[in-house]
């Protein structure tokens, strides 16, 4: 920092993409991760994978249904959402997202209906088609969410191709974590499923870690401005939040825990992996907006306790839980699914 400039008057710019945006990116990331976990099994009909894939599909649907609610809540004029559909704007990634999201949810619901409810009865062709459509649209979602931030020349941290894979990998880790949580909360935890999920969780967390590490190293070597901003965020601006909570508690700790396949630990491992997925988005959004575009220093963000902050975060998690309960009771009422 050059000390020969002192800012006497300059204001803190408000954080306009706040906790609802984080929740949207969190839930939609989990949903796409869930599809990644489920679709290959349904497409290839790998018998050993299918039961775990059903868990992945349940994760994808439940989180996928919460995501649009969080997105709407993030708008300051949510009642005007119809304007998105009256004014398609090809130059705006957000506009593409407005069309992709409902298409993705529709395909996902069909995939869910087939995969969780009707599939064993026979019509596997429809399931395959739905799985394929959901995967293609899910790829579109992953691309648009990362690119929406990546094209902004105003924010060096976001302005990079590193973001899309980072979101995708950590979304997958979070989805596996959530599947692990659901599995360990079943009346009888299926240990074979837990074992498989833990193996995948190790791999996806390790890959996320390697990717983030490479991003930071690219910054250190001056190969990426965004990597340099990431390093600065971790070392200079938000050391505790970025290093301890995100990298330490959200990434390294669950990675270590995956190496122990202990029934008592699985719930915690899954929850920590989820926390890591959330933290990546929190650091990117809130930390990213904390780096001034023009001013000096760093803008700190205090999480309000209202619906715009903590209450909103808790509310969206509550909504997810409600959707999970409704879907599971519907499934068990009409049919005894094998593993879900």
């Amino acid at each position: 920092m050059s000390n020969n400039i002192i800012e006497i008057i300059g204001i803190t710019q408000e954080i306009t993409w706040n906790s609802w945006a984080v929740q949207y990116f969190f839930f939609i990331g989990l949903s796409v991760g869930g599809v990644l976990l489920a679709a290959p099994a349904y497409l290839s009909r790998t018998a050993t994978w299918l039961p775990v894939a059903r868990l992945g599909l349940l994760v994808a649907i439940t989180t996928g249904l919460v995501a649009p609610v969080a997105l709407l809540a993030d708008l300051h004029q949510p009642a005007r959402f119809y304007q998105f559909y009256l004014n398609f704007t090809p130059s705006s990634w957000m506009s593409w997202g407005a069309f992709l999201l409902p298409a993705y949810i529709a395909a996902l619901l069909l995939f869910g209906l087939q995969g969780l409810y009707r599939d064993p009865a026979g019509n596997q062709r429809v399931t395959r088609m739905a799985a394929l459509a959901t995967s293609v649209l899910g790829t579109g979602i992953a691309l648009y969410t990362g690119s929406e931030m990546g094209i902004l020349i105003s924010r060096v941290l976001w302005q990079s191709g590193w973001l899309v894979p980072a979101y995708l990998l950590s979304g997958l880790a979070g989805a596996i974590g959530l599947a692990l949580v659901i599995n360990s909360l079943q009346s009888t935890e299926n240990l074979a499923h837990s074992r498989l999920l833990l193996r995948w969780l190790t791999a996806s967390l390790a890959l996320t870690g390697v990717w983030i590490g490479a991003w930071a190293v690219a910054g250190y070597l001056n190969l990426s401005g965004s990597g340099a901003a990431l390093l600065r965020l971790a070392v200079e601006f938000r050391p505790l939040e970025t290093l301890v909570f995100w990298i330490g508690v959200g990434l390294l700790l669950p990675l270590i825990l995956t190496l122990f396949n202990h029934t008592g630990l699985n719930l915690m491992t899954g929850l920590l992996a989820l926390f890591g997925t959330w933290m990546l988005r929190w650091v990117m959004f809130i930390g990213g907006q904390g780096i001034p575009k023009n001013g000096a220093g760093f803008y700190n963000f205090e999480l309000p306790l209202t619906a715009d902050g903590l209450l909103g975060i808790l509310g969206s998690i509550g909504l997810w839980l409600l959707i999970l309960i409704v879907i599971r009771s519907l499934l068990s009422q009409y049919k005894q699914p094998a593993d879900v």
């Binding site: 400039i5 803190t12 998105f84 575009k293």
Partner: protein, 242 residues
């Protein structure tokens, strides 16, 4: 009446009759004729004393909520020849020639008028804040009262009535000069052609249309220095929202 103002009013008088200064709408497209003015601002930093009269005039004229600003004079202390010196930097929307805030808007609520002024249709804006993120100059914000994107409009309502923007009108030192860059006789053209001017963050290729005279190049991009002790707290924001 000083010569700047007289020249400005003469420009407006000749252009106001033309339909180009009529009601703006997205549908008007980008029809550009020689008669259409291109409004720009020159800020002569040698004359700015950092009194914030422009900040107040703007907030009053445009009823900007407390704690939010369409323009603000950033104030720095810089070192020059081993001596501390004050440096002012009035900030506002640059009405960029290549504005990154416009293509990102998912509902085309923000657009550039043929005369270069970048505006927001706040009856259509969904308040997604994508443009706020996209503007490299922090010129936009979500208005706490309207819940839509807000920014400097060069006081388009005044310009259409043949008046100067409120900040220009009020500027004590005459540091803010407004006019039509397409008119070679305008004060802004004369200054831009005769004095060295700089825009902010030129590397981003946004082609800002606020031209600074006497800009210290340490202030041209993101400031690296000791941050201001005065930071708006969330409490103030909450208060102004209620």
């Amino acid at each position: 009446m000083d010569s700047t103002r007289r020249k400005f009013l003469a420009t407006v008088a000749t252009t106001i009759a033309a339909p180009v200064l009529g009601e703006a709408s997205a549908a008007e497209g980008t029809a550009d004729t020689q008669d259409t003015p291109r409004w720009v601002m020159v800020i002569d930093l040698r004359k700015c004393i950092g009194c914030q009269a422009c900040t107040v005039a703007c907030s009053t004229e445009n009823r900007v909520p407390a704690g939010q600003f369409r323009t603000l004079v950033s104030h720095y202390e810089v070192e020059k020849d081993h001596q501390p010196r004050s440096a002012m930097l009035p900030r506002l929307c640059n009405h960029c020639e290549n504005p990154p805030c416009i293509p990102v808007c998912p509902v085309q609520a923000t657009y550039q008028r043929p005369d270069g002024i970048v505006v927001v249709d706040n009856t259509r804006c969904v308040g997604c804040a994508y443009c706020v993120q996209a503007c490299p100059y922090d010129a936009r914000f979500i208005n706490h009262e309207t819940k839509t994107a807000d920014k400097c409009t060069f006081c388009v309502h005044r310009v259409q009535a043949g008046l100067l923007p409120a900040c220009v009108e009020t500027c004590v030192g005459g540091a803010r000069i407004f006019g039509n860059i397409k008119d070679p006789r305008s004060e802004v053209s004369r200054l831009i052609n005769s004095v060295h001017t700089d825009g902010l963050q030129p590397g981003l290729k946004t082609r800002p249309q606020v031209y600074y005279i006497g800009l210290d190049n340490r202030l041209q991009n993101k400031i690296e220095g000791v941050p201001s002790p005065w930071k708006r707290s969330e409490t103030l924001v909450q208060e102004s929202m209620s």
